[in-house]
């Protein structure tokens, strides 16, 4: 269960990215879309293209930060080297960070991949949950929860709903 509630301030972190740079959420002045995800999970893969599209469409206002916290010992596809490959193959237009110690997933109380936390530009949590209501088929999406949350935050309104249920694989914790 998430350890951060709507209205709470962002929990800062600094993590290494596939670009070889350490990224610190504190330094981002835009709306921050923090997504716990990974390489191997089919739910994460199903939504990847939509995340890329959102970053592209709202690049003026948002910064997506994708984090993988999975244990790469159990799931070799989620190793840092594989993350670098995936990011290149899919041409991720956002930082893809490795939470090897799983400290940040634990801090946030994230449980699924993908699981989204959206903070406004001042760093207050405004939305937590899933991306939309159809992981299988983008053309059949009826509720674009994340997109609508972003639009609301840009317009200085509170997202409604502000919480949805994250749907996906479980984060793969170390034994």
């Amino acid at each position: 269960m998430a350890k951060i509630n709507i209205g709470d301030p962002q929990l800062n972190f600094e993590l290494p990215g596939v670009d070889g740079i350490k990224h610190n959420i504190k330094n981002i002045q835009k709306i921050k879309v923090v997504i716990f995800s990974c390489n191997h999970c089919p739910y994460a893969q199903a939504w990847e293209d939509r995340i890329i599209k959102l970053q592209s469409e709202f690049s003026k206002h948002i910064q997506v930060i994708m984090i993988s916290s999975n244990d790469a010992k159990q799931f070799p596809d989620d190793s840092f080297q594989e993350m670098v490959k995936r990011s290149k193959e899919k041409q991720f237009n956002f930082p893809y960070l490795y939470d090897e110690s799983q400290e940040i997933a634990t801090l946030y109380g994230a449980e699924r991949t993908p699981e989204v936390f959206v903070f406004d530009a001042s760093g207050i949590l405004k939305y937590h949950g899933t991306i939309d209501d159809n992981y299988e088929n983008e053309s059949e999406v009826e509720k674009s929860f994340l997109k609508e949350a972003i639009e609301n935050i840009i317009n200085e309104k509170n997202p409604n709903p502000s919480i949805t249920e994250p749907i996906g694989c479980t984060i793969k914790w170390k034994n």
């Binding site: 999970c41 089919p42 739910y43 199903a46 070799p76 299988e136 996906g168 694989c169």
Partner: protein, 103 residues
């Protein structure tokens, strides 16, 4: 016809996949029961060669035969759709193809 579905609790894909399987069985007028087998640990996953949830076996044949590089673990299974996109739920035509073959 022997119909077995291996699954694990870590993954939400079981029920939507079962809905598709039941639809195919109903369309094909097949009345056999679906045997559900829960995989409880990574050790059991290795033993059962379980590459993810759900694994649908018709007469012991996987609806989507795994690649050699697959590894066995408690996990959601990825299925490739005809358009090349990945889905956590098996496409209905993938299920139907093997059910008709084994009918």
């Amino acid at each position: 016809m022997n119909i077995t579905v291996l699954y694990c609790d870590d993954c939400p894909s079981l029920n939507p996949s079962l809905d598709r399987l039941k639809k195919v069985l109903s369309d094909e007028n097949i009345k056999e029961e679906i045997l559900l087998k829960k995989v409880e640990s990574n050790e059991e996953a290795v033993k059962l060669k379980f590459i993810g949830s759900p694994t649908i076996l018709i007469n012991g044949i996987d609806i989507d035969p795994p690649e050699n590089k697959s590894y066995f673990a408690l996990n959601c299974r990825a299925f490739k759709k005809e358009n090349g996109k990945i889905s956590p739920i098996p496409p209905i035509d993938m299920i139907r193809k093997l059910v008709i073959q084994e009918k």
